[in-house]
């Protein structure tokens, strides 16, 4: 087993009276892709948001337990939440570019963090777009509005926008949500590339995608972690009956 980048201890998340996550314990391996699977409402998005403190944007949310990033508690009293979100960057489901140019979208994060030098920004934008597999498609129209891109290009632009802040962990909530198969395949290729460089956690409803892309898989059911392990093992020999039912599609 690899070293852990993120360690989750007894993590529970409540929205008002509703408990979305039930005492999750999980170690996200460093430099690997972890897929979070489970039916709708199982808590996949809540888990991803809790890993970067984005759940705090909801008014009535309550989080209990610990999340350690490189051994440091991210919910601690003296922690700079913006720094946590820069290091652990979340790409939400249905990400949407800002109504700015393609260049300004990617440069948004670096500018936030104080980079003003034009040459440096050019370099970051180019590198991020290349890593997101979008450079060749947009290099001649960087100043055009990002809203004119196709849905698949928008999805990759949002990946580029996140990479530009040089995070250590990338959280992607359903990366191919509402994409056609061709666009989805391109996004998957990008994720396969990215996992060489980042610790990656993505939520997905597609078992095939989890099988193709992830090294580890975590199965959530009704807010609880049912099973976690290397993808090949969990898919070949699930230990829990619920996992087996889910991945073989026996759930109604």
């Amino acid at each position: 087993m690899r070293d852990s980048k993120l360690v989750v201890r007894n993590l529970s998340v409540y929205y008002g009276d509703f408990q979305a996550l039930r005492s999750i314990n999980l170690s996200i391996p460093l430099g690997a892709a972890t897929a979070v699977i489970g039916s709708s409402g199982a808590g996949k998005s809540s888990l991803l948001r809790a890993l970067c403190r984005m759940n705090e944007l909801w008014d009535n949310v309550r989080t209990e337990g610990q999340v350690l990033l490189d051994g440091q508690e991210i919910y601690g009293p003296d922690v700079d939440v913006t720094e946590v979100r820069r290091r652990v960057s979340l790409i939400a489901r249905h990400p949407y570019p800002f109504p700015k140019s393609i260049f300004d979208n990617v440069a948004y994060g670096p500018r936030l963090h104080g980079i003003k030098d034009k040459r440096k920004l050019d370099e970051i934008v180019k590198r991020s777009l290349k890593q997101a597999g979008l450079w060749n498609e947009v290099k001649d129209r960087l100043q055009e509005s990002a809203l004119n891109l196709s849905p698949g290009e928008k999805a990759r632009l949002c990946i580029a926008r996140s990479i530009a802040v040089e995070p250590e962990v990338l959280l992607i909530d359903d990366p191919t949500y509402h994409l056609d198969p061709v666009s989805a395949a391109k996004v998957e290729d990008v994720i396969l590339e990215l996992k060489q460089k980042y610790t990656l956690v993505f939520a997905t409803n597609s078992m095939q995608q989890a099988g193709r892309v992830s090294d580890y898989v975590a199965f959530l059911s009704e807010g609880a972690l049912v099973e976690f392990g290397p993808t090949s093992e969990v898919f070949a020999r699930p230990k829990d009956r619920r996992t087996e039912d889910y991945i073989t599609g026996r759930f109604s």
């Binding site: 939400a92 936030l112 802040v165």
Partner: protein
């Protein structure tokens, strides 16, 4: 069978007639004012408008615009700050709804209520020598709740995904407001501000009430367009004069210009044609 088609056509033509009547009545009103006010003694009116004396229509109009602008500039920063606070820094709960509905209610109060504020609180405090200030303050007290609500809704119109994605990149809340929310709410806020200005600038009631504080005053600052129109009607020194029609026309034209500009701004808003169902702020 033909019957149903005919019914639809009849209903459509009724609505079309209403729409045409709505659009046409403004033109008819302006036409009437032009005929009454401008056509017969065109030269006399032009002379009135461009006269060099203190109360030519032109000078009254310019003074009205300036006072309105001053009132807006006074109210706007406070309104934007309060709007940002309510939209971005308070939780969505009963207290916020209560505060918002109270502010919205204040903005919708009959203008005479604000006249009462000017007459009862501001005029005695500042005195006769500061009539201009009293007029400006009265207008800005009236504008303030309207602009707070405008600023609040201009921010709420922005899809929640903008806030979410900006914060996810490590932005602070203020950076998100400054870099993402304010640029995209600007147009809508400007549009709503212009609408508020048209409303406040065209209203005579508060000025009439303030004027009641100094019944014998001979000073000019009270002479802003709607009040001037009212005075020229009740004084009716020379019934044949075309001044009030000229003043009314100027008032209608100014109001139409403001509304037209507001409509243009609204139409090119950032969210127009780019709506995100289900991604409004919760």
């Amino acid at each position: 069978m033909r019957n149903s088609i005919d019914t639809g056509a009849v209903i459509c033509s009724v609505f079309a007639a209403v729409a045409l009547f709505g659009a046409g009545s403004l033109l008819a009103l302006m036409g009437y004012l032009v005929l009454k006010g401008l056509w017969p003694p065109m030269r006399a009116l032009a002379a009135l408008i461009f006269a060099h004396s203190g109360d030519s229509l032109l000078s009254i109009w310019i003074r009205s615009l300036f006072l309105l602008l001053a009132a807006t500039l006074l109210a706007l920063p406070l309104a934007i700050g309060t709007g940002i606070y309510l939209s971005e820094y308070t939780r969505q709960n009963r207290a916020r709804e209560l505060i918002l509905s109270n502010i919205a209610g204040l903005g919708e109060m009959p203008p005479v209520v604000y006249g009462l504020v000017g007459w009862g609180a501001l005029a005695p405090y500042f005195g006769e020598d500061r009539q201009t200030l009293v007029i400006v303050l009265t207008a800005s007290v009236w504008l303030l709740p309207q602009l707070i609500v405008a600023a609040y809704w201009a921010l709420q119109e922005i899809p929640v995904s903008f806030r979410r994605d900006s914060l996810a990149l490590g932005a602070t809340r203020w950076q998100t407001i400054r870099w993402t929310l304010m640029p995209y709410s600007g147009r809508l806020l400007a549009a709503k501000t212009l609408e508020g200005m048209a409303r406040v600038g065209g209203e005579a009631a508060p000025v009439i009430m303030v004027a009641a504080a100094w019944p014998d005053s001979s000073k000019q600052p009270l002479h802003i367009l709607p009040y001037y129109l009212y005075r020229s009607l009740i004084e009716a020194v020379d019934p044949a004069t075309t001044r009030h029609f000229g003043a009314a026309l100027l008032l209608v034209l100014t109001s139409v210009c403001f509304q037209w500009a507001a409509l243009r701004l609204r139409r090119t808003g950032v969210v127009a044609g780019d709506t995100l169902p289900g991604l409004r702020k919760r």
